[in-house]
């Protein structure tokens, strides 16, 4: 096992997949000469040249659509959004073109394209730069959504996403790029989409989450242990496809669950998963499933307000106490 940052893990995944398949190319703002705004593509320009690592103009709609066209014609584009906040400009091409092409053409045009970049809040980037965008991509059939929270997951899932024949919104976290962790040395380490990962085992309550929130969940689980509460922490890793069996298994075990996510509550990922739990595991539930989310406001700039707005381990602990009727 090598220890590396989340950034390095993504970089390795890109390098390995580009070496493996000449049809894979990376396009986005600042990905080449600048090594990426967050340095995820460091060194790739030198290694693969400017036909495969391409700096784009600031034209999100245009280069996202260019990627979709290239995928129709047989390439496997990796389109980097500097952050998903900017992808609102491109979402027409993701939903109306990429997610529907295979269906509208009755299978004539697979869409092996990855749209990747950070989602969610970093530090004090304010309302327009701090959105968790999962819901905009999970809602429509035809698009897969992947949200790795560790370096190993980042590497294994990005490789899987690039090899997948469907469009994948691959959502990273700006605050995760420097996060270090162990990554298997296996030079072809791929994690299949649709497999959740139990990041911590407990029997009293299930904390279910995805993306960078797994770290908040683990923090909460640590605090809870001090009160003698043992929590399962289930990391969904991919939210479409969704590992429903793993969700139902932890709920069947603990009979109590909290969904933690970084984004807004209304029609968030948690809403979907909570409604599925009550639908498919109604009799397993000893308490309602609660959700912990960002405060239901645009992200404020002020440090103290931002801290209040973000979901915290204490919020999770509070919700866990509620579902345990403590």
């Amino acid at each position: 096992m090598a220890v590396m940052t989340y950034r390095e893990a993504l970089n390795q995944a890109l390098r390995e997949e580009m070496e493996r398949d000449p049809d894979v190319f990376l396009m986005g703002e600042e990905v080449a000469e600048y090594d990426g705004a967050y340095k995820v593509s460091r060194g790739l320009l030198d290694e693969f040249g400017d036909q495969r690592v391409v700096d784009s103009p600031i034209s999100e709609l245009g280069f996202a659509g260019l990627g979709v066209g290239a995928a129709m014609a047989g390439l496997r584009p990796v389109i980097e959004f500097m952050t998903f906040n900017f992808a609102f400009l491109a979402i027409d091409q993701v939903i109306n073109s990429a997610a529907k092409m295979y269906y509208m053409s009755e299978g004539q045009f697979p869409m092996p394209i990855v749209f990747r970049g950070p989602t969610g809040a970093a530090l004090q980037l304010s309302a327009q730069h701090s959105q968790a965008c999962e819901t905009y991509y999970t809602h429509a059939p035809g698009c897969k959504v992947v949200t790795p929270g560790t370096p190993a997951d980042a590497k294994g899932l990005l490789k899987a996403a690039i090899r997948d024949d469907d469009p994948v919104a691959f959502m990273e976290g700006e605050l995760l790029y420097n996060f270090k962790g162990e990554v298997p040395d296996d030079d072809d380490f791929v994690i299949p989409l649709g497999v959740a990962d139990l990041k911590r085992e407990g029997s009293d309550v299930s904390i279910i989450t995805h993306g960078k929130m797994i770290h908040v969940a683990l923090q909460a689980a640590g605090k809870l242990q001090k009160d003698g509460i043992e929590a399962d922490v289930l990391d969904l890793r991919t939210i479409r496809p969704l590992d429903v069996d793993a969700i139902m298994a932890t709920v069947a075990k603990t009979n109590r669950a909290v969904y933690l996510e970084e984004g807004w509550p209304y029609a968030g990922t948690g809403a979907q998963i909570v409604s599925m739990i009550q639908e498919e595991a109604f009799d397993d539930l000893d308490a309602p499933v609660l959700r912990v989310t960002q405060a239901d406001v645009p992200m404020p700039y002020a440090k103290n307000l931002e801290a209040m707005a973000k979901p915290s381990a204490d919020h999770v602990v509070g919700a866990v106490h509620k579902v345990l009727y403590r």
Binding site: F25, Q51, S56, P57, S59, L61, G62, F63, A64, G65, L66, G67, V68, G69, A70, A71, M72, A73, G74, L75, P77, D92, Q93, N96, S97, M101, Y102, Y103, M104, S105, E106, G107, Q108, F109, P110, M111, P112, P141, G142, K144, D164, D165, D166, P192, L193, G194, V195, T238, R240, P241, L242, D243, V244, Q272, M276, E279
Partner: protein, 356 residues
């Protein structure tokens, strides 16, 4: 813009337009056959729509046949064509069978997309007809990406993308032309300029001429008379060669006119254009009549020959309608088929809780 002039409407014809444009009699007759086939196909679709065999939005190309034949016929099989929702005849021109297109309009399993795409979404991978797209301007970045692939692979295909005059006001158009210019992609951006976007005259939503729209991107723009199929063919034949030779992206203002309403649900004329305007265009600018006159004048075709061609065209479209009519509707299993190209072994992809 020197070329704009020479290409503009009503080029001073020499005695024989065929010679002027370097077009053989055989080719000219083929173009007549093609345009007749498109006209009769669309008329058949119109009929079928009227009796409810075709549903949804249906945008006819009647009046614009020369634009399709003249621009697509010069292409190679391995060239790509991308279009919007007024694309039936363009698909035919690229080689998609009339049966497959008509069956798609009927929503039948024999259609080019198995009946799941419909009138606005004709796709055919074999002939490289890349759709059939419903969001105004949405096909323009796609074509740019197809051009990217051609350059990426070092191939010598070219890409022809069609859009309406209203589409140039979409940001996607400008973003695409800029990228195509920066990367010198082999894409020809063709505006089928029929002067109206639905009920809006282009002059009401632009202060400048169409041909100028590519100027800030460094993409050359030229105009051509899209009702004159010989001029249009010659223009695209030469342009395709230039682009194949590495001339980079091009912009074309292909001037034409729509003889029908915007879609089957819209009036042919109204506040936005007068009956007289439409009738005048039909009598003076019908691309089929214009070619007929040329061919008659040159002695390449006579009425009997034309009638025979027309009989064939009507027969083809009738056969297409019969094929569509007898093609089975998609089976229920088609509903969930091809949502995903890869149904991962793990995890759930469908969430409606229905039986599949």
């Amino acid at each position: 813009m020197a070329e704009t002039k020479t290409m503009a409407k009503k080029p001073s014809r020499k005695d024989d337009p065929l010679q002027e444009h370097g077009i053989s009699p055989e080719l000219a007759l083929d173009l007549m056959r093609d345009m007749l086939a498109y006209r009769r196909f669309e008329e058949k679709a119109e009929e079928a729509y009227a009796i409810g065999k075709i549903g949804g939005f249906c945008h006819l190309h009647i009046g614009q046949e020369a634009a399709a034949a003249g621009s697509i016929k010069p292409l190679r099989e391995d060239d790509y064509v991308v279009s919007a929702y007024r694309e039936h005849t363009q698909a035919l021109a690229k080689g998609v069978s009339a049966n497959a297109v008509m069956a798609e309009l009927y929503g039948r399993s024999g259609g080019s997309s198995g009946g799941k795409g419909g009138s606005m979404h004709i796709f055919d991978e074999k002939t490289r007809f890349m759709g059939g797209h419903g969001i105004v301007g949405g096909q323009v970045p796609l074509a740019t990406g197809i051009g990217w692939k051609v350059k990426y692979r070092g191939e010598d295909s070219i890409v022809l993308v069609f859009m309406g005059d209203a589409a140039v006001n979409q940001g996607a158009f400008h973003e695409s032309l800029n990228m195509a210019a920066v990367w010198q992609l082999p894409v020809v951006y063709v505006v089928e300029n029929n002067a109206y976007g639905m009920g809006t005259a282009f002059t009401r939503v632009s202060r400048t001429d169409m041909v100028t729209k590519s100027s800030p991107h460094g993409v050359p723009g030229r105009s051509v008379d899209g009702q004159d199929v010989l001029a249009t063919y010659a223009f695209f034949r030469d342009l395709a060669a230039e682009v194949r030779g590495g001339a980079g992206p091009q912009f074309v203002d292909l001037q034409t006119y729509r003889f029908r309403g915007h879609s089957m649900s819209d009036p042919v004329s109204g506040t936005y254009r007068s009956v007289e305007e439409v009738e005048k265009a039909k009598s003076e600018q019908d691309p089929i009549a214009l070619l007929r006159d040329t061919l008659f004048a040159g002695g390449y075709l006579d009425q009997a020959g034309l009638d025979e061609m027309d009989r064939e065209a009507r027969q083809t479209s009738q056969e297409a309608a019969d094929f569509a009519d007898t093609s089975p509707v998609p089976g229920p299993e088609a509903l969930y088929r091809n949502v995903w190209a890869e149904v991962n072994p793990n995890g759930r992809l469908f969430f409606d809780g229905r039986e599949r």
